[in-house]
Symmetry: C2
Subunit: 369 residues, 2 copies
Amino acid sequence: MKLIVLGADGYIGSEFMYRNDIHHDIIVVDNYYKRTLLGEEKITPLYDVPYIHEREWKCKKSFIDITDSSAVDRLIKNFKPDAILHLGEQPSAPWSMNGAGKATRTIDNNLNGTLNIIFSVLAHAPDAHIIKIGSMGEYGTPNVIIPEGWFDLDYRGRQDRLLFPKNPHSIYHLSKVFESDALAFACKTWGLKVTDLNQGFVYGTTSEARSRYCYDAMFGTSINRFIAQAVAGIPLTVYGKGGQTRGLIHISDSIKCLELALQNTPTAGQFVVANQLTEWKTINDIAAMVVGAAEQMAITATIEPIDNPRTEQEEHFYQADHSVMQDYGLRAIPINHALLMEQIDLVRFYKDNIKKELIFPMVKWSKRG
Amino acid sequence: MKLIVLGADGYIGSEFMYRNDIHHDIIVVDNYYKRTLLGEEKITPLYDVPYIHEREWKCKKSFIDITDSSAVDRLIKNFKPDAILHLGEQPSAPWSMNGAGKATRTIDNNLNGTLNIIFSVLAHAPDAHIIKIGSMGEYGTPNVIIPEGWFDLDYRGRQDRLLFPKNPHSIYHLSKVFESDALAFACKTWGLKVTDLNQGFVYGTTSEARSRYCYDAMFGTSINRFIAQAVAGIPLTVYGKGGQTRGLIHISDSIKCLELALQNTPTAGQFVVANQLTEWKTINDIAAMVVGAAEQMAITATIEPIDNPRTEQEEHFYQADHSVMQDYGLRAIPINHALLMEQIDLVRFYKDNIKKELIFPMVKWSKRG
């Protein structure tokens, strides 16, 4: 299979490549945008990871900016991919909420990248399968079960099958909603083939610490932050009441989902949506699990709720369908102490690199007087 | 009231100004983007209309590009408006579907303009009421009654109140969906005040022919095209089966809705959605009404279905709530022969200006092989 992997320098992209470089004819693409943002914010990950041009993957390498429509057009015209795995996004919700400039940069980067892919695929490789990674945060926290995109609506005595309305948590998530809407439109209107993945929080260590690990409040997820706090001997900062419930998936299962998506090409015009999570927990439960796993490693960790910097529901119903990937054959690993202990072990190895000041929230959602 | 009117050079914007310039302290804004597009496409409206700088409105005038964030920021910081009427958009569905360049220009112009308004209002005038004109075409043609934005969802035994999922007809409509989603997010997250208007096809003549009249297949609506065809003595080109049903509103009622929206400021954080239409008809029924009105003026018109250049349902259920404006006090004028005869009379006056070749569809939706 001729495959383009956009955003191969990231946490998921690089791990995907380590496991899949020999299975396909691949061009990886990254312009090191995430590294640029980390540099601007003076944030360092837990350890350095090699640049793509230093990695020994069996693939071609491209360093174009996917917001450059001509460059994307040339790439797709020349390579004519069978599939495109699109991970080339500004990935941080807090960064996107840190003022108008970063909000619009997030939307520009994420939406324009996806639009360029759509139009180049339409022109040069209309049968290519586009796989885009989104987030469960696009849905927000509705008081009903979250379906996998499509749902059967019964409204005032009539019925239709529509895409479930999303209610994103941040400008970052809003940008992802825009992308999903654009991709759904491209399927409906031009017959493109798209799989749209709404991913939960990804956690877990990659083998040999070869993918980037962010533990800061800007780019790290809550599990990564909690583990860094436990190892650094400072309290785990739960935002607000901690009843926020979020979908979870281990990095191994996340990569497995991408492989399964690649093996299941939609028909022309089909917009497949999968919720890429295997379970869900409250933030309080996640913090308690980290404390428990740390305890088994003789690390005493405590939890300290702080004012919630975000605008979000802190106590709510949560249930999300996730059978598409199960039907494709995913057999998920549920979160457990052993997996967390493996991650704690990695972080402890790099303990001296932890900068405590990076873990406390830097961005507040609400700026209105 | 201190009011900013964005897009005051357009059909609706200029008519609004003729009726409202003395009622408010207004800055009108337009960078003549629509005139630029008409020039690029070599399309001429039915008659010339004055430029804003030539119009004798009682207001200040600005010629900034609203996609320039610094310029929007200065405008809102200095004027501190009570309300912003946002009509500054690329308004054509076919233009937006005419290749990747025009698609992305449409999204850039429309979305970035709205984002700049959101962030400048948030920074400098957070109590300002933003009124944005969207389109009923954002909803598409669901098989259920279209609510006014918010709807009560009963799904698998649980309930929530959410925004109804949209299913836009074109890249232009998709750009409007993006804007609505961004505005809803701004209300929820930062407590802004927004009225989002989903307008049907606007028809009807403005007094003294002082607003632009497009009858071409790119920028003119179906009623305008049909009337130009009747006057020019060529068949009315119904696209496909003609069972496409669309909401309608007369220009006088459209302006009245804007005035009513201005009088009804949402509370902080409230996202008010109104469907700005007063009735709906199939394209076949609209064509037949034009033929009937023409007949009363001794003009013989015929209807000739042509292949549909668009990807859309040609026969479908249609019903849309529209009580918000009624509750505000709108008493609507239904479409009738007299109103159409008034419009036919205007077009007949400028009959020699009609270029028949502009009325036939220039853009096809589906380009996939």
